[in-house]
Symmetry: C2
Subunit: 256 residues, 2 copies
């Protein structure tokens, strides 16, 4: 796979690429402004499922990034679309902050839908979901990330609780966010751009770059956020470029 | 593998074999009395890690079973022995009811030790354990059962939370209770009996019968507790006998 000479769209991961926690990555604000000036359509992808889209936009604005809510492709929103399209009656195990975005749980559910509830995960909540899975309901996971970096250290992400339910119930979840192909393709579909014409910039070798690779999208790996030195020599996932940070990725795309 | 003509020891699983929840399995009390009358040494095995040994003995006495605390080989007790033998400084993620049996957590731990905390599992407790695992501490799991039957339905067992931590931290736990071979061999070692001379009676195809099979012990599967019809035709695990219940297992052992 090669970097397209003049990409038709750029997909940009948020956490670890534009910001780490509540700090902007140095040079990222200016680099995004330069990228925007070229007129290339942008979509920002995130598997964060603890916060509603408006809260994500508010944080980005506070850090100086000019990003519209409609440009952000969240796993939460993609899950809501999937629930609506399939006419599912969801039982939600999610963070209270996204309850408004998802709507109410049904009393006679047809699927268990799980997001990152963080400190709101309880034994009783997990057990209730487990019992529904044992009755044969499918498990739809907004994402299955292992952990993320908080200001005071690494923290368990949604994937741990998905793995717990999968193991106990002997089933496999359907994942909506990265690295699921429909998530990447959905973002490009909105823009009418083919995968081969797009570029993705991400810090997560497997979920960002690996997912993009399977979706037919060239991936640029940045050495910020979750990046680990071993990521540069992975046997299966091959970024088209590995660069120091988002600003360097933008320079590479702009050919300068 | 064959049923020994005159076994040197009988290993008996508790939940699902002698009792289901707070009900004795019909005929089990009398069958245990007949088995005892032959003088064959007995050991009772349990992966239950929510209750101290004395509480298990108390429940069995209430149901009419004559069983001494010293005859019960629990995953909790085996874990305490392992912690002591290896001189570990444990960080415990366990049920408060077994805190006395395990002793205090260390402030500078060398291992994370997890038992079934049930409703006492919290995000913060799991996250604290996760952070220690990410620092390189090993995970020792008292058991990794998927679920068990409560009076109001199936409930998540310890295995779900072990799977959560394993997935997030990218590690594999060391399991102490069934189906780990040292657990079976430890019970027999106390009695000075070789595996080939012993018999196990259990309701869990994989953890009881499969574990016993790998440990060189003939396993009798009972059709109570967790038993499912498909267990009789498993490709890998082969009970020497499948019988209706504990009383039938005792009849088979006594040759009558």
């Amino acid at each position: 796979m090669q970097l397209p000479a003049a990409p038709g769209a750029v997909l940009i991961d948020l956490a670890g690429v534009l910001h780490v926690g509540s700090d902007a990555v140095p040079g990222a604000v200016e680099a995004l402004t330069r990228l925007r000036a070229t007129g290339v359509p942008l979509r920002f992808l995130t598997n964060t499922t603890r916060s509603p889209r408006q809260a994500i936009v508010a944080l980005l604005h506070e850090l100086g990034f000019e990003i519209a809510a409609a440009e952000i492709h969240t796993a939460v929103h993609a899950t809501r679309q999937l629930v609506d399209e399939r006419g599912l009656r969801p039982h939600y195990l999610i963070h209270p902050d996204i309850a408004d975005e998802m709507g109410p749980s049904h009393t006679e559910p047809s699927a268990v839908v799980i997001g990152d509830a963080g400190p709101h995960f309880t034994f009783d909540g997990l057990n209730q979901a487990f019992r529904l899975l044992m009755q044969g309901l499918p498990l739809i996971a907004m994402a299955r990330n292992r952990y993320f970096k908080e200001t005071d250290g690494l923290s368990l992400d949604l994937g741990a609780f998905v793995a717990a339910l999968e193991y106990a119930a002997g089933i496999e979840a359907e994942v909506v966010g990265k690295p699921a192909l429909p998530f990447f393709h959905g973002a490009l579909h909105e823009l009418g751009v083919e995968p081969a014409a797009a570029v993705l910039i991400g810090d997560d070798l497997h979920d960002d770059i690996g997912g993009a690779q399977r979706a037919g999208i060239a991936g640029i790996l940045v050495r910020t956020g979750k990046f680990r030195a071993a990521d540069e020599s992975d046997e299966e996932v091959h970024p088209v470029l590995v660069v120091d940070d988002f600003a360097a990725a933008v320079r590479a795309i702009l050919g300068g």
